[in-house]
Symmetry: C2
Subunit: 181 residues, 2 copies
């Protein structure tokens, strides 16, 4: 190990370049060449720091999701409303990254089993947090009913996000808040 400072900075530049390109050009426009050019790095250096292009893209998406997490420490104190607001923040702050998440999820569904499982697990974890928050809000709510409501709520939010991806005029936040309460 024993990373050198210069390498750490290069890694950060590559991630920043990828983040910018994904936002500006989307997944297809974010080629290895484009990332390296913007980061001011040769291709060989890229592969010294990352295993693949996929690695970088997934890190950018994961960081965008983590950036809006209302409970990064997993203390289990978040409310349903906070979770919905986090979802809204993710979609409205960086709509392109949100779209890329959907794109990866859908195209990866058939191929590359590993990616598929990671996305499925991510969805399940999010569903668990929604369900737990829902039951904290209303302790009388039965577990099965909470699971069911969570499934529908998340589907609606995902569907609205999809709608927002197609139409930039669409007021995602307003509709998302409407379904919550």
């Amino acid at each position: 190990m024993a990373r050198y400072q210069v390498g750490i900075r290069t890694e950060a530049r590559i991630l920043e370049a990828a983040r910018e390109l994904l936002g500006e050009l989307g997944l297809d426009g974010t080629t290895l060449k484009a990332i390296c050019e913007r980061a001011g790095v040769r291709v060989g250096s890229f592969y010294n720091l990352f295993d693949s292009k996929e690695t970088v893209v997934l890190r950018v998406v994961a960081e965008a999701i983590a950036a809006v997490d209302p409970d990064p420490a997993h203390l289990g104190t978040e409310t349903l409303n906070e979770l919905v607001e986090a979802y809204i923040a993710f979609v409205t702050r960086d709509p392109t990254v949100a779209r890329i998440y959907v794109q990866i999820a859908v195209s990866g569904a058939l191929n590359s089993g590993d990616l598929h499982h990671r996305i499925q697990r991510h969805h399940e974890q999010r569903a668990d947090r929604f369900r737990a928050a829902m039951q904290r809000d209303d302790p009388a709510l039965a577990a099965g009913e909470a699971t069911e409501r969570t499934e529908i709520l998340l589907a609606t939010l995902n569907g609205l996000a999809f709608r927002a991806a197609l139409d930039s005029e669409f007021d995602f936040a307003r509709h998302a808040r409407a379904v919550t309460g």
Copy 2:
């Protein structure tokens, strides 16, 4: 014009091959080469009949959607329930094609403006039919309220379809019918 029979049959073979491959391998796996091999046709013949690969893929998707249309003649007599059932039929009959529709919609959103507009128009037309059916079911329903409910209903159906694309075990039909009431 004046098509020859052999050409018409070849066209049908190409469409069938594309349909099969899209179902088996998804969008990425459905290459021009693969389509031509399965259809027993040389690449040159393909381009004599179709402008591009995109043309074929879009025709397959459009035909899959049209196949479940409860009111192909647009008589305006369909019920909300029929529309939901048509949606369910589309997703459950050929899940891969449904996923490809999402894939095209999401990836095309940034690029190729034409495709983007076509998909947006398709969504709007569907929303109109849902809203009209909703008001036929309940004539007392205000227009604004119907628009709002349609937006939410379609979002939920799309989100559930997305969920089904990620998890083949997911019972899409049951959840879809649950939200309709």
